[in-house]
Amino acid sequence: MSALSNLLIPAVLFFALGFIARAIKSDLRVPPDLAKVLSIYLLMAIGLHGGYALGKADLAMAFNSVLWAIILGFALPLIGYALLLMTRKVDHMNSAAIAAHYGSVSAGTFLTAIAYLDNLNIGYESYPVIMLAVMESPAIIVGLLLASWSRQRLAVSANGGGTAIIQRGGMGNGQLGGLLHEAFTNGSVIILIGSMFIGAVASPASMEKLSPFVDDIFMGVLCLFLFEMGMEAARRIREFRKVGPVLLVFGIVMPLIGGAIGLLVGGLVLDMSVGGTLLVGVLGASASYIAVPPAMRLAVPEANPSFYLTLSLGITFPFNVIIGIPLYHALAERIVG
């Protein structure tokens, strides 16, 4: 029933429309910058919204959510990394890069979940928004650490790891610092945290003036955004041959694991409502395709981008949007109810 309702949400339908348009090889071309602009808007809107709510929220609870967001951000990549190595089909560097994506989150999936809840008139707490903002950074850091650690092990195994020395050297002289810097000054983190701050300090009257832009047209913009993301997902899923069955399975199993952990954290640890729990579940289940990929390109050049992009954007993203969200919702009701 909730699954059905999911498929009647315009946001999800537009995602499907975009997906189909690409799948049937329509010549539909969307300007290259549209998705970028829309995601800036969406991050700004959700940030202002969440910040405004947080302004009135319980600080202890907020702190608690942040803490658990960090824990999730560190734990999930480690789990993913272990799983990938266990398959014996993915090398260390690709495992590190891929795993990092699952510690972070997909704003698109998160927003779809919000559209899903709005559509069912289910309320939700504002804390998950701040968790969304927090979870990018730890994931990137773990990814970097896993990568440089693997790099060293590879260097040792390869006797006289000349390249490895170059690598560590490279890492040594400021590059690691630069990447940590990136982890915390990442563009989407800045917009999200900044907008939340503004939403928290701005006067209600001035927020009132922003509401038509930030609230009223939000759902329509989200539809347009998901329409394009559907096209991008379909573009990526074509490459699933390249990633092979093992990664394909991982792209579906990992969100289930992450989602389950997220649901438990949301429902039992932070004991949120069904809505909030679903959102935390989505944070756990979803994989970043905005902040983490560029960081991995820079820091883990040995990894093949088409692996982690296909997984996060082509497989996990559509899985979460179409199947995951209603599923996590059902589970959230079990856990909370």
């Binding site: 905005i290 560029p294 050049p301």
Partner: protein, 106 residues
């Protein structure tokens, strides 16, 4: 007749996440400037559709006096050895006003 002078034009095609690193390197090598054009494409690292921040390429051009060329190529080879995906080629061009390219960016 015009005084056209031979120079080397280095072109690098790669992901735009490397832009800052490329700019830093050409600065250090004393280039007088650089030009960046946005690009898409495909290669061994898959398709770069240019639709998202995560898959956009740049076409990076720098005209550099031949004596500084070798050092810049060292830098680019180092990036490639680290695993980065760079398409690098050098062309012979004839420029107007060669002095322009020997003053490095302040």
């Amino acid at each position: 007749m015009h005084r056209l002078f031979p120079e080397k034009l280095v072109t690098v095609i790669t992901s735009d996440v490397l832009e800052d690193q490329l700019v830093g390197r050409v600065r250090n090598r004393g280039a007088s400037g650089y030009t960046v054009v946005r690009a898409r494409g495909a290669g061994s690292s898959g398709e770069q559709s240019g639709m998202l921040d995560i898959d956009t390429n740049i076409k990076f051009h720098v005209i550099i006096p031949s004596e500084r060329l070798s050092g810049l190529l060292d830098d680019l080879e180092q990036l490639i050895n680290k695993g980065h995906h760079l398409t690098v080629f050098v062309s012979d061009v004839s420029v107007l006003g060669p002095e322009k390219y020997s003053e490095s960016m302040e």
